[in-house]
Symmetry: C2
Subunit: 171 residues, 2 copies
DNA sequence: TATTGTTATACTCTATAACTATA
DNA sequence: TATAGTTATAGAGTATAACAATA
């Protein structure tokens, strides 16, 4: 990485996805580009740290996080919906995690097409460690945000989530 | 604080990445998950529409967008920095776009290791069409956001961008 | 007929690292 | 020595679609 002086104007206007916006672009587009830049920045960092420090990936981590709050397990199709990716991909990620002994498939007795996926004890222990580090990374990256900004960001994003979902026609 | 319709709780709590948060999770983590959900939602939609309606991808679109505001061209390494991906990947994306006649490499006369990449006329025409549709999609998806929310979102994200960049120690 | 999950395929994007040509 | 870009490799994630088993 290159190192430029860290005055805020320079840093804030540093090269990134947002800098593709033209002076006369509409404000909504600029807003989206700024949001995309923030997400990409953070996601890149999380992916990198998950890989180097824990040998795992964001989708694998996300899938385990979903399972943590479903002690009785989740169906593959639930995971698909929650993680916003198609069914076949869930099979792949679940395969990997099962191979590592972090999760297990439990055959459903009521519907023999279906199975429940849940964390193993090893999975829970492993996830706890990663999640702890993960939350620290997040806190560090969001640390420079004032309390009021953080709060209004949360509110506005809630509104956006609703707006986008409504627009895209679905829950 | 916010004034949302009654159904908003249901829609807002629909299954997604944020729904992995536990009741006692720290607020910062919840904030990140909400932001990630919004970005994923919008990115998925943009990717899908770019593919089905224009046969292209988000990175290709982003690269062309970068070039649009650099009529004299950009170096590969500039593109790499702006798009926040490594150098080798830029080569790949530039190869594809060049093969389609949308951009061209111009050998630098002053530094023979380097070349400038810029849009062709065809590239500019093609990009204009896609960008127009793209901005409409964005406006639709952000349409349900109140003006004040949109504005505070923009401000807060600016702060976050700065905070994250500072924390990650670089441009 | 519809649904659940798997499999197969193909492609895009990605990081890493070794390499070349040039500076 | 350092830099600009390419190539090679390997792997992750993705959509699509065909498929089997079951509902």
């Amino acid at each position: 990485m290159t190192h430029l002086p860290e005055t805020s104007a320079i840093v804030l206007n540093g090269p990134d996805l947002e800098s593709r916006a033209q002076p006369d672009d509409h404000q909504t587009l600029r807003l989206w580009l700024r949001m995309l830049t923030c997400c990409t920045l953070i996601e890149n960092e999380l992916r990198s740290r998950l890989r180097t420090e824990f040998g795992t990936t964001l989708p694998r981590f996300d899938l385990m996080a979903q399972l943590l709050r479903a002690p009785d397990g989740m169906k593959m199709s639930d995971l698909s919906r929650h993680m916003m990716v198609t069914n076949g991909n869930i099979t792949g990620i679940v395969d990997q995690l099962e191979r590592d002994g972090l999760i297990e498939r439990i055959k459903s007795v009521t519907d023999r097409r279906s199975s429940l996926v849940r964390l193993t004890d090893k999975g829970r222990r492993t996830f706890a460690k990663i999640a702890k580090a993960h939350e620290e990374w997040i806190r560090d990256m969001f640390g420079g945000l004032r309390e009021t900004s953080s709060h209004s960001l949360f509110q506005s994003l809630g509104e956006l989530k609703l707006a986008a979902r409504t627009q895209l026609g679905g829950v």
